[in-house]
Amino acid sequence: MDTLIELWNYYAQNYSYVWEEFYKHFLMSAYGVLFAAIIAIPVGIFIARHAHLSKWVFSFTNIIQTIPALAMLAVLMLVMGLGPNTVIAALFLYSLLPIIRNTYTGIRNVDQALIESGRGMGMTKFQLLRMVELPLALSVIMAGLRTALVIGISIATIGAFIGSGGLGAIIIRGTNVTDGTAIILAGAIPTALMAVVADLGMGWLEKRLMPGRKKSNNEQSNAI
């Protein structure tokens, strides 16, 4: 109970600071995923076409995924220095696997019959991709972005160790003061909340983009 009161006091005194760090934290995670998406989606499409390359790409991204986050940050720090950009680079690397894998799976799982009929209608390769494959694979790709974002939010917490700020800074401070339970919670709760909300939000988007939803699907595919 005491901890709850302390927690309340903490937020009452520091709400502007917490909000600042929350915003920073979210931006870092979002940028990491965004940049990864810019690279990973085309790569995913490419290896879906050239399946023999997929083995190499996946082993590479798998290796990245096995590196512990703290080690990754430490190594990147040697190259890129301290600060948020290094964290974004780490998140970028961690986001590659889920996005590439989901793009690959999504594109590969498009019904061959549909592609054939598209081709039969005289669509070019690009038109096939844009009008048939991408719309059908979109919800799977979104699921990849969703995983990447949730992982990103959790890893960004560690970024505070290399001076990037974010909610992790609050948690680390909580571990440094005498009785920091409330401060640790004050940093951990918004982080968890952000991950849950991001997961729900992306899940909702993913559902909206399901190929089954015929009507809105047309609009959505146009918007892509």
Partner: protein, 307 residues
């Protein structure tokens, strides 16, 4: 078809803009040209002072300042500054950096120590070590207010006659440290305590308050000294080297942004021991964030606008 293409164009434009912006992402400040980076230790004290500098820079100039926090030790701060990772380090202590960064013997006279670090940092690293803020985060033998009153203790020498009955709680590292460790203490003061217990530095305050220990070796700016009504005993034989805190900045940044020099000079002697202890108390015990504590400090002093 036409408007679809337009949409593509917009998307491509936005994406490429974002990529081009890679170095200073909107919302994050990043490493853009007019950002001054301030390095801090992972202590509340260091962070509070860093936020004071940051907010003062942003209040008085158009530059942005960014905190690079949570550096593990003074050596890490020193290296970050050397390699240009940060432009200013918020708190550097004479007693730490003399043997640390400079690899020289500790000097017990505060003025001499300051002169040496100022000269050497300028010569060896092309950095400016400013005059102290006015507080000193040193070790001090600390007792409860009650005990101090009862036995009339003011200086460390005053303990001598009771020492053999007293329990001493100290930092793990200090017990076996050469130079200014326990052995050195015994040689300088000529007495030892009944029993010395090694413990984590963070626990000594509670230990002495609750009566588990009679005397502890504490940090002089710790907020808990105030909270628990503890008293620091004066180091009358100048056994501990001085730990006056100053900012250190690279000369490059001072040339590039001359206003930064004015701001750091403005803070000389402005943060006194009592004030720092109170701010540590707010941050460590009252759970205010250093950013908030710093803001209140500056508001209280009106951002030193009248000086």
């Amino acid at each position: 078809m036409f408007h679809k293409q337009k949409k593509y164009l917009i998307i491509v434009l936005v994406v490429s803009l974002l990529v081009l912006n890679g170095c200073s992402l909107p919302g994050l400040g990043g490493s853009s040209k007019n950002t001054i980076k301030i390095g801090t230790l992972n202590t509340s004290e260091s962070m509070t002072v860093a936020y004071i500098i940051k907010q003062l820079i942003e209040h008085k100039t158009d530059y942005k300042a960014e905190i690079i926090g949570n550096m593990g030790s003074s050596i890490v701060q020193h290296q970050a500054l050397e390699q240009g990772e940060v432009d200013i380090t918020a708190t550097r202590y004479t007693g730490t950096d003399l043997p640390g960064a400079l690899n020289m013997d500790p000097v017990t006279d505060p003025d001499k120590a300051l002169k040496i670090v100022q000269r050497e940092f300028d010569k060896r690293f092309d950095q400016t070590w400013f005059d102290p803020y006015g507080f000193e985060n040193s070790y001090a033998f600390t007792v409860t207010g009650d005990l101090a009153e009862e036995k009339n203790l003011e200086k460390v020498s005053d303990i001598e006659e009771y020492a053999s009955d007293l329990r001493l709680g100290v930092d793990n590292a200090w017990l076996n440290r050469a130079g200014d460790g326990y052995q050195g203490f015994i040689e300088t003061y000529g007495f030892e305590f009944g029993k010395a217990y090694p413990m984590q530095i963070g626990l000594v305050y509670k230990a002495v308050e609750s009566g588990e220990m009679d005397v502890v070796l504490a940090y002089t700016t710790d907020g808990r000294i105030e909270e628990f009504d503890l008293v620091n005993l004066e180091d009358d034989k100048q056994f501990f080297p001085p730990y006056d805190a100053s900012p250190v900045a690279s000369n490059d940044i001072l040339k590039k942004f001359p206003e930064v020099r004015d701001i750091l000079e403005l803070l000389e002697g402005k943060i006194e021991q009592e004030a720092m202890r109170r701010m540590n108390y707010e941050a460590d015990v009252k759970m205010k964030e250093p950013a908030v504590v710093a803001k209140e400090f500056l508001q209280e002093h009106n951002y030193f606008d009248n000086e």
